[in-house]
């Protein structure tokens, strides 16, 4: 944790974050296209598909919603599933708190509106390595949002003309990105133990607990390692 100044949230930081996350965002567009196509096939009208991608901006939850979509949609199961899939963002947000707390509430919550996996992971890495900025979160988030929306639109219009993402290895982009962020962060025996405990707990939850619980279970189990084995203050 670097000093006690509020993280930078300038236009220059925004721009920098936008360009840093644009390469990954272009791959995200491929998933957007897959969503656009699947949503057309599920019978949603175009304006509703675009509205969903623009306002929900959460791929996994949107795909899950399509499975429940029909002439009549069960409201509570839909919202419960949305919450369960996106609950990981509660934990992601919490990890940003030590830096976010130095911002006035308006800017603090406004910059979280666009939080998603990739921009969170990159920004947390920045903060932990002493780059006191929210450029990746906000600027990078905007890049992800823009390409998610553009991808959705492309999928609706061009449909199956878009290449098979799996053959191109595009389905592994998020996985490889997340993995690189894990290994780019600060590493010591405590964090490595937390990864192992978290990973084993997540695997157990994935195999035996209700669907979508694995991230919460794994993250909380890993967090407990850090709460029990407390860092020595230098």
């Amino acid at each position: 944790m670097s000093g006690h100044t509020a993280p930078e949230l300038s236009l220059a930081a925004f721009r920098q974050g936008f360009w840093r996350l644009l390469p990954i965002s272009l791959f995200v567009a491929v998933f957007g296209a897959a969503f656009g196509l699947a949503a057309v096939q599920a019978g949603l009208p175009g304006n509703e598909i675009l509205l969903m991608s623009a306002t929900v901006f959460a791929g996994t939850a949107q795909f899950a919603a399509l499975e429940m979509w029909g002439a009549e949609v069960p409201v509570l199961p839909l919202l419960a599933t949305t919450f369960a899939i996106n609950a990981r963002m509660l934990l992601m947000g919490a990890t940003l708190y030590p830096w976010m707390s130095r911002l006035p509430p308006g800017r603090r919550y406004a910059s979280l509106v666009i939080l998603s996996d990739a921009n969170w992971a990159m920004n947390l890495n920045d903060l932990q390595t002493g780059r006191n900025t929210l450029g990746a979160l906000v600027g990078g988030g905007f890049a992800l949002w823009l390409t998610w929306l553009a991808g959705t639109f492309a999928g609706m219009v061009f449909g199956s003309a878009i290449a098979d993402p799996q053959a191109l290895g595009v389905d592994m982009v998020m996985g490889c990105f997340m993995l690189s962020m894990v290994l780019a962060g600060r590493r010591n025996s405590r964090t490595v133990l937390a990864w192992f405990v978290g990973g084993i707990a997540a695997y157990g939850a994935y195999r035996w607990l209700p669907e979508n619980s694995h991230v919460l279970v794994g993250a909380l189990a890993g967090g407990l390692v850090g709460a029990i084995w407390v860092e020595d203050k230098a």
Partner: protein, 101 residues
């Protein structure tokens, strides 16, 4: 049950967006009620990497051999050079090549 005709779909999308927004803002909001101590700080710091690992576990289990090779390639290059972009690119390339053969 909500009927998707006559504006029902718009209501559903609005509700989904609201629930998702709450998960985005909720983590920081809830933490503002938790007194910061060494254990809380240790918890959220250890949780940061664990969230990523927990997201990755099912991905690594579900994917095919090509996907697993991709993750191995990314991990190997990250451990050697610590540069994310080349490591990710190598992972994707490995997945694409392994599926092409």
């Amino acid at each position: 049950m909500i009927d998707v005709e006559s504006g029902g779909a718009l209501l559903l999308i609005a509700l989904m967006a609201l629930v998702t927004l709450l998960t985005r803002l909720g983590g920081v909001l809830l933490m503002s009620f938790v007194p910061m101590g060494r254990r809380v700080e240790g918890f959220i710091n250890a949780m940061a990497g664990s969230v990523l690992v927990a997201v990755l576990v099912p991905v690594a289990v579900k994917t095919d051999t090509a996907g697993q090779l991709a993750l191995l390639a990314t991990a190997g290059l990250m451990l050697l050079y610590r540069r994310p972009m080349p490591a990710i690119a190598a992972g994707i390339l490995v997945a694409a090549l392994a599926r092409a053969v």
